[in-house]
Amino acid sequence: MLFPIVSIIETYFCEMKILIVEDEIELREILEASLLKEKYVVESAADYNSALEKISMYDYDCILLDIMIPNGSGLDILEKLKKMDKSDNVIIISAKNSLDDKITGLALGADDYLTKPFHIAELNARIKAVLRRKDLSGKNFIEVGNTVFDIQERTLFVDGINIHLNRKEFDILNYFLLNKNRLVTKTALAERVWGDHIDQADNYDFIYYQIKNLRKKLEDSNSDILIETIYGVGYKLSER
């Protein structure tokens, strides 16, 4: 093991407790299903009162908080969390792309603001970012077999050898690593790496080209990271 601490973090992630506050039952079930795949401990609340009860009784490592919930506002819950000094691990998930709510939410200490609809891969990435910020004050590494990815320094080492990645390649690999063993659709990847406006592109063929370069670099250095193409709609990173 090159960096023993990393594997400890990886296992620690698996015991993370996450609370979903979302009134829409369908969406709540999907989020639960997806988060369970990440081996998190998942609890959920459908309205203001049950959410309030849960946050006052338990500590969560990350809270996904919808703003428009029955019997109250998610922002009120956020305020309560702020008073308990527990608002820094909240990700607001709102259908309202409202600047006011975003500002209020972030001012109340929320970590992030995600507008519905979002891609599952994007939610995974945001949750990982919250968990990492919460539990690591120093450097961030992700290790997959013989490959170490340094988020802070933006470097990639395979068997201790530095592999040069350009900015986009780094961002792509980072996103895949945050979604390890999960499907990342081309659209989700494009929006993450190239921004919202990329969705006007007539096709995502250019992504294939980027992935091809990245794969070549990983293969040439015998990395344990494998990027598979899934049915031509997306990709999945896994360990060989």
Partner: protein, 428 residues
């Protein structure tokens, strides 16, 4: 033209008209009055002369005016019987004047000791042109004094009286729906101004209500549509992860995900358009078009490289504008993205930034686009099914909301868009 001046003009015209008519009437009356009194005098002279003739017959020989104001000629009896007293205006030579002078003359006949005589008595008249001239000047000065007093009254009194009106006007001029402003309260007791104030406040209240409910609708529509789209997308994404999925099924799922993404894009674009048109983007700041453009080009470099598009940027100056940062970004981004996405393989893009303008031209479809409809909603390139047909409509809405111009032209087989920021250049 200001209210003051307009009322001054009307008042002056009215004065001119009234004084004109009045002076004619006055002049005629005055003249009649003068004639009457002269005629009375002539009648009086006649009686006096007739009395004198009874005692002094030499008067009957006075057949020329000479120094007196009468002359007497003998006439036949028949003529004398037919004679009636006539007053008339006539002209005569007077000793003190070379010109003919206007006189009033009384022709009369009388009998003295069975002889009949005609008597003409005169009395000098006021010279008419002198009268007219004098009256004209006095009326002229009256007119000037009236107009002058109107100006003074206007400036001093009316200005004071109209102050509440200008207060209300200024409030309405600077009124903006997106700013929280109190009701208009002007210190006035004038009924009309109070009514105007009330009407303005009612109008403001109604607009605010309409604006707020529109805003509310925009946000609610967003919420109501985004959640089902989120469920569709996320469910399908999870479904794609399930094992034992056939390639064909997976592709179908992927297609549906793409459709849901398109729906999401349409929804967010329409909401963005509505928000721009409602002027819900308020915060303005100093934005550098140069750095936005360069950032976007860096971001889209892989796309451009993939299509082998050559990009040529000429920055003649720093273009700094006062705009909402995210709208500025959207505006430039849509144009840059268009230039890349609608370009052909091995094409070209050239961007030019001056101190007032941003222009971008690109190779692409061989024919010019219709400049009349290109900025309309849902006008789109049929070959690109991913396009929402709202990109340029959004650009146009942004430009309209900032009163900056966005023009399309087709020159030398290149499509070119130019934004002229001259209305939005920050004041240094």
């Amino acid at each position: 033209m200001k209210l003051h001046n307009r009322s001054l003009i009307y008042l002056s015209l009215a004065f001119l008209f009234i004084i004109g008519i009045w002076s004619v009437v006055f002049y005629i009356n005055l003249k009649d009055e003068i004639r009457d009194s002269i005629d009375d005098g002539l009648e009086n002279s006649r009686l006096l002369i007739l009395q004198k003739v009874k005692t002094d017959t030499t008067l009957l020989l006075q057949n020329q005016f000479g120094g007196n104001n009468f002359e007497i000629h003998p006439i036949s009896k028949e003529k004398a019987h037919k004679f009636k007293d006539i007053y008339k205006d006539t002209l005569m030579h007077r000793a003190n004047d070379e010109d003919l002078e206007p006189v009033r003359m009384l022709h009369s006949a009388f009998e003295h000791q069975d002889n009949y005589y005609q008597m003409n008595i005169i009395s000098s008249l006021i010279e008419e042109d002198d009268l007219i001239e004098d009256s004209f000047w006095s009326l002229f000065w009256l007119f000037i004094i009236l107009v002058a007093s109107v100006i003074i009254v206007n400036n001093v009194v009316l200005r004071k009286v109209w102050t509440p009106f200008y207060d209300i006007l200024n409030r309405l001029k600077t009124f903006r729906l997106d700013k929280e402003e109190g009701v208009i309260r002007t210190a006035t007791k004038t009924t009309e101004f109070l009514q105007l104030q009330e009407a303005s406040n009612a109008l403001i209240r109604h607009s605010k209500e309409a604006y707020d409910s529109q805003k509310q609708f925009t946000e609610n529509a967003s919420h109501e549509l985004q959640t089902p789209i989120a469920i569709i997308t996320n469910k399908l994404e999870l479904l794609l992860e399930s094992e034992n999925l056939q390639e064909k099924e997976a592709n179908t799922i992927a297609e549906v995900i793409n459709m849901a993404d398109r729906l999401k894009r349409l929804n967010t674009s329409l909401l963005l358009l509505a928000k721009i048109e409602n002027k819900q983007f308020i915060d303005e700041e100093k934005v550098s078009i140069n750095s936005i453009a360069n950032g976007l080009l860096e971001n889209y470099r892989e796309l451009a490289d993939f299509k082998h598009i050559e990009i040529d940027v000429v920055e003649r100056n720093d273009l700094g504008v006062d705009m909402n940062a995210s709208l500025a970004e959207t505006l430039i981004s849509n144009l840059v993205a268009n230039a890349i996405f609608h370009n052909k393989k091995n094409g070209r893009i050239s961007i030019q930034i001056t101190d007032k303008e941003f222009s971008i031209s690109n190779t692409g479809p061989a024919a010019a686009l219709n400049p009349q409809t290109i900025f309309h909603r849902f006008v789109k390139d049929q070959t690109n099914s991913n396009s929402t047909g709202l990109g340029l409509a959004i650009c146009m809405a942004i430009c309209k909301s900032y009163e900056i111009s966005l023009d399309y032209s087709f020159k030398a087989k290149e499509h070119s868009f130019t934004i002229d920021f001259k209305n939005n250049i920050q004041s240094v």
